[in-house]
Symmetry: C2
Subunit: 200 residues, 2 copies
């Protein structure tokens, strides 16, 4: 059966969306390609016509899912000039913790990526750098660029730890899950205060 260009693009999009949703919910090793194809309403063969391997699909799904999060965050930041603290409040939140599908894809799979191949690491790194750049943009101008970058790197890595840890303890101790988020926000804000004082 011949597939039109338009249909092929739609199939590709459906595969990326299904992969992204399933990987965030169940992890990369927790989902097979047959299931992703089924979820997208396509055959196994159709999937391999678009992606040579599960890893290639996972790497592209990761970037694709993140692009959606990034677009939402940028739209939110455009509504008004958002401070660094407001960014943290949005990122390290009970909402992000409880919504696996719409939450941060890095937090959803951080501990799995290192075990996967180079394509997923490259995709994760690219997404991490984009996020760091966005956070840098929310920091006080007076802070020197190298210090901005350093703080943004720490904030994103700590956010990933906060969300993953809060999710891991949530079924057992919901008060602790909340406290993890607050505690991590606090240390990042404390470090920011020191950077601002230094730059003045």
């Amino acid at each position: 059966m011949r597939v039109s260009k338009k249909q092929a693009a739609e199939n590709r999009e459906a595969l990326l969306q299904a992969a992204n949703r399933l990987f965030r919910q169940r992890g990369i090793d927790g989902v097979g390609v047959a299931e992703i194809a089924y979820e997208a309403g396509l055959t196994h063969g159709a999937l391999y016509a678009h992606f040579p391997s599960k890893e290639a699909l996972a790497a592209e799904a990761f970037s694709h899912g993140f692009a959606g999060n990034m677009a939402n965050t940028k739209a939110w930041a455009r509504e008004q000039d958002r401070s660094f603290e407001e960014h943290l409040g949005g990122l390290i939140s009970t909402h992000m913790r409880d919504d696996w599908e719409a939450g941060c894809p890095m937090a959803a799979s951080a501990s799995e990526i290192g075990r996967q191949g180079g394509a997923l690491s490259a995709s994760f790194t690219n997404v991490f750098e984009q996020f760091v750049e966005m956070i840098e943009g929310s920091l006080e101008n007076a802070i020197p660029p190298a210090r901005k970058r350093r703080l943004a790197i720490a904030a994103v890595a700590a956010e990933i730890g906060a969300i993953a840890t809060a999710r891991a303890v949530a079924k057992t101790d919901s008060a602790l899950a909340d406290e993890v988020l607050e505690a991590v926000r606090e240390i990042i804000c404390a470090a920011y205060k020191i950077e601002k004082a230094r730059a003045e």
Copy 2:
């Protein structure tokens, strides 16, 4: 075949060690029970004689593996009175990042635990609390207990994020992988400085 009590205990230990090693290397969803039994030199049936389910085995393997890390850390801390900064230097290190088998089991599986059942969450939470308690013990006495706990919670969650993130980017950008560790150590130390200054 009748198995002596001593043999049963040895089999159980072999299963826990094999599970712990394989889960850290490949993730909980990346390893099957048949493989764990094989690695321990036992049959599938022998595994189920000790653990009713993969989750039960994973939960116990998690605590068991952590107990080993904890014993090592406590032995190291007993050699001399280790400061909070020394603990951080050991925990958030290239050594911990590069050694999956001996590294922190929480960092190795943080983003996977939230997807698993209650037994693994309970095991993770228990381990997290033990770790927090150890870190609290390394903080300056003058800091009020509630603030010590808050800082220790943040430090452990941020450590988990630092190691998982550094591993995720390491195949692509080893300089960034190092910088993630340094940046996270820096913000935790900055927050500690503020707590110490407040307590004086």
